[in-house]
Assembly symmetry: C2
Homo-oligomer: 344 residues x 2
DNA sequence: GTGAAAGCGCTAACAC
DNA sequence: GTGTTAGCGCTTTCAC
């Protein structure tokens, strides 16, 4: 038995196909009783609109594309970050009868931009969500926008009234974490910076500096070591920091992977956490709760951010110029076991 | 400027649209010179076929659906498992001009089956890949197959000639891991079983028993404790095991999450790994290399398995009855730092 | 080997 | 409020 089409429903309900279409798309201008009749017919026939037909006729699909940096390009990539993004976007899609297309891509390759535009032109998604660090690369964003597809950037690093974006308060929350560390009596609080390609992460050092200032501590560039967001780089940075005669009593890393790297370095050096060293991270990916001691970190609301981004796309906010700009979803501190009072 | 359509290409190349279609779909019966002319026109116009139109006309999309257990339903879900699956499937999609639709779903909910069928009927995917434990639930598999959509099961637990599936040699490789542990001098090797919903994981205990036998060790059900695949359950199981007067010197957990739980329990009890206790896991998700000491485990080739599954779907193997059955992608041991010689 | 014509199942524009 | 009529850009069928 072939599937019911919009014609079958129309015939059964005794209306035209246009009316069925209106009911299916929740459009106004349908009398309540008519709507009910149609809904009854839909239920009876088990009618499900064919997305391909919808897409072709409306010249846009009900797909949302999620574009992010391909984890396969890295050594020990934490997948929690991506999963959180996916979950948020999926949540929004579920309530809006859409589907999510995932598209990891390696920005180091020449062909990224071309691949992105083909993907978009072929599937005609209703919109694209770009995750950092891709979201702060003009080349990428331009490629997407050149297709005319609405695009929301996640944490593009700096605000920009011309684009839609969703971010968190990286700087403020990092100041807060730093003040928290200081409040535990730490005087030498080190910071490990992240991937320079990832702009939003750059705002985190700034927050660290703010926090030091707020706490009456002096900033010293000796206490800032650079990493690249990878666990290994955190470990290397921590080795440097902990190898000194006067070593820091707390290390704040710009992301969780690097913070776990710090924990590993401490473990190798026989330094106890949190008794001899406090460690804090940023993101609150699952890994933060899988390691022991559990990592104190900043919960970046990636799922909420992605959900918001998807909702904006699905509700067509991009057409409305007044809404352009950055929406901020605030982060929060998650104090767990890896931080404690400063040693004497 | 509106996008080029198949008509534009046909006109420029001086052929009919059918010929363009043949070229685009790599169909036979096109003269080489004609093909070249068409390809030149395609390049010149930057023509990209509209997927929606293709899908509508051919009554099937070029989408592959990946269905897996929703991690959001769990406490500390390791996302590495899912990411590996996604990566493999994406790899196959990339080379076949298809896209991947991800669909986490919670099998504990009544509506799963209905949601799955709507997803499928609406998007008409070329095929569905079901991951465990969903892949061993008749209710789920039946729902998918009732739509007539080809389906490949990943690790369905037991073979079945009527379905397409991809699995790994769980049992054999677990025997190997057990023999390896025994070869290090361990006499009391414990095993933590996994989620009973997840059938393939059940084969792992069997392998453990085989391995004991091969090594001349006696099986004792005292040394087998049950878990549910979660980190917390591994920790709880380890606490039981390690609280005994005569405790095991090695613990083999049916997945990495539980193995990390064991490591955490040992950490809390002040038991050194691998000096006092060897720990082994299964899966080789990133977490295995993020913890310290790095976890000895079985590398389950999930990415290759998913890639194979997607390829089977994309190449239409499902139509060919002779290929039905289970394809096996072998796993391999990854010896790292968490296992060592048995203590005296 | 190639082409003409007839849909695929919807939405859009406009008439009523 | 509701219906009519054209397409959307392809694949399919079948003729040549």
């Amino acid at each position: 038995m072939p599937r019911a089409t919009i014609f079958d429903v129309a015939k059964l309900a005794g209306v035209s196909i246009k009316t069925v279409s209106r009911v299916m798309n929740r459009e106004p201008n349908v009398r309540a009783t008519t709507r009910e009749r149609v809904e009854k017919a839909v239920a009876e026939l088990g009618y499900l609109p064919d997305q391909s037909a919808r897409n072709l006729a409306s010249r846009r699909s009900h797909l949302i594309g999620l574009v992010y940096d391909d984890p396969a390009a890295y050594e020990l990539p934490s997948s929690g970050y991506i999963i959180n993004l996916q979950q948020g976007a999926l949540e929004a899609c579920r309530s809006k009868r859409s589907e999510l297309l995932i598209h990891p891509c390696n920005f180091r390759k020449k062909e990224v931009a071309a691949q992105l535009t083909s993907l978009i032109e072929e599937t005609r998604p209703a919109g694209i969500i770009v995750a950092p660090p891709l979201s702060n690369m003009p080349k990428i964003v331009r490629a997407i926008e050149s297709t005319g597809t609405p695009c929301v950037q996640i944490s593009p690093g700096k605000q920009n009234g011309k684009h839609l974006s969703v971010a968190t308060n990286d700087r403020e929350i990092c100041a807060e974490m730093t003040r928290y560390l200081a409040s535990l009596g730490h005087k030498r609080i080190a910071f490990i910076t992240g991937d320079p390609d990832h702009k939003a992460v750059g705002n985190r050092v700034l927050g660290y500096q703010d926090g030091l200032k707020d706490s009456g501590l002096k900033f010293s560039d000796k206490l800032v070591v650079s990493g690249d967001n990878s666990l290994g780089s955190g470990e290397a940075a921590a080795k440097k920091l902990l190898g000194r005669k006067l070593r820091p009593t707390a290390i704040f890393a710009a992301n969780d992977d690097m913070a776990v790297g710090v924990m590993r370095a401490a473990d190798r050096l026989g330094i106890k956490i949190p008794e001899q060293l406090s460690v804090a991270g940023f993101d609150d990916i699952v890994l933060a709760r899988q390691v022991f001691p559990a990592l104190t970190t900043v919960k970046q609301p990636l799922d909420d951010m992605a959900e918001l981004a998807a909702t904006m796309l699905l509700e067509g906010e991009s057409e409305d110029d007044s809404t352009k700009g950055t929406k901020v979803v605030p982060a929060e501190l998650k104090v767990r076991e890896s931080t404690g009072p400063a040693p004497d």
